[in-house]
């Protein structure tokens, strides 16, 4: 009990000071920074992407995103390594899902996939993108796993898709290096901002990221589902 009290007091000190410092140095609702100024005013012209977040993530900070995807890949590999079993993992669900869930999943699963695809294809126009779309796809597979006790993803196919999409991302970067002199150069024309076919290579990258994130998150879920406790 005394431990809790002490920790609460310490936390109160730390958090209160954090709060006070924040309200003094960065008041809520204040103006944007200089870097963001450039992104906001030049972003659409320079990248062709209507969604400025996408412009930052894929164009200005595209290299970071490649690193982020790598981190995701390493984490998925780590999960696989930590949960490795000698036997091939087998799913063992004692309780079957109810008929409603089963039927609903059959109806909803393709729609969820479609929605995920929609999100990452339109990443440069509307809110959303490869990460969100990939997460939605992974959620669809979670749903499928819950409803169907015998369902298991095609591991080989998923691995191939994941590798292929990762290679597309890296390959586009190298192509920029070859054609224009620096990594991840936007080698395609920007087009008209606001149209589906616009913003150069950004939609292609986002599709690749969407597939990769979806495959990896699904792989993580599959790993955690499959191991016997």
């Amino acid at each position: 009990m005394i431990k809790r009290l002490v920790s609460i007091i310490i936390l109160a000190v730390v958090i209160t000071s954090l709060f006070m410092v924040l309200s003094e140095t960065a008041p809520f609702g204040d103006d944007e920074t200089v870097v963001s100024h450039r992104y906001i005013y030049k972003g659409v012209d320079e990248t062709g992407s209507a969604n400025l977040v996408t412009a930052v993530v894929l164009n200005y900070r595209g290299f970071d995103t490649l690193g982020e995807v790598t981190v995701l890949f390493v984490a998925a590999t780590g999960v696989g390594a930590a949960l490795y079993t000698r036997k091939h993992p087998v799913r063992k669900n004692k309780v079957e899902a109810s008929l409603i869930v089963k039927t609903g999943s059959k109806l909803l699963f393709p729609m969820m996939l479609l929605f995920g695809a929609y999100i990452f294809v339109h990443g440069h126009l509307t809110p959303g993108g490869g990460f969100q779309g990939g997460a939605v796809i992974a959620t669809a597979f979670v749903f499928k796993y819950i409803s169907d006790t015998r369902y298991s993803i095609d591991h080989v196919g998923f691995t191939k898709m994941e590798s292929a999409s990762g290679m597309i991302f890296a390959g586009l970067g190298i192509m920029g290096l070859l054609l224009g002199g620096y990594f991840l150069l936007n080698i395609l024309p920007n087009g008209t901002p606001g149209e589906l076919i616009s913003a150069g290579i950004l939609p292609i990258i986002y599709i690749a990221i969407g597939i990769k994130v979806g495959a990896e998150l699904t792989g993580i879920i599959d790993r955690m589902m499959g191991v016997e406790a």
Partner: protein, 112 residues
């Protein structure tokens, strides 16, 4: 102000979970809560009063959108967060298989 307060409270509760709880899953939950708090903090720093989402459409001028930079950061952070959480949990599962406990102070090999 409300948002700063909310994020500070989330961070505090997350750290409290780390400091007081001995259950490993509870501690990872605490990390997850800290994650949410930090994300909220970053986004609320980037917010500008009376401006809209950073998506340039007909009718939305660049002078009228909020800061996109923290949003890109947080987007990265969320994805990294889930992968790290999954990795941590799989390690916890491994630890549980070996020690049959989730109590961090009973897992002796954490001590060198």
């Amino acid at each position: 102000m409300m948002f700063y307060f909310a994020s500070a409270a989330l961070i505090a509760i997350g750290i409290y979970m780390l400091m007081v709880k001995k259950n490993l899953i509870k501690m990872i939950l605490g990390l997850s809560v800290i994650d949410s708090g930090v994300n909220l903090l970053l986004i609320s720093i980037g917010y500008i009063n009376g401006k809209t989402a950073p998506i340039i459409q007909p009718g939305v001028s660049p002078s009228n959108v909020v800061d996109p930079l923290p949003q890109a950061l947080v987007l990265t952070n969320i994805v990294i967060g889930v992968s790290v959480t999954a990795l941590a949990l799989s390690v916890v599962i491994r630890v549980y298989k070996h020690y049959k406990t989730l109590n961090s102070s009973e897992v002796r090999d954490l001590k060198w």
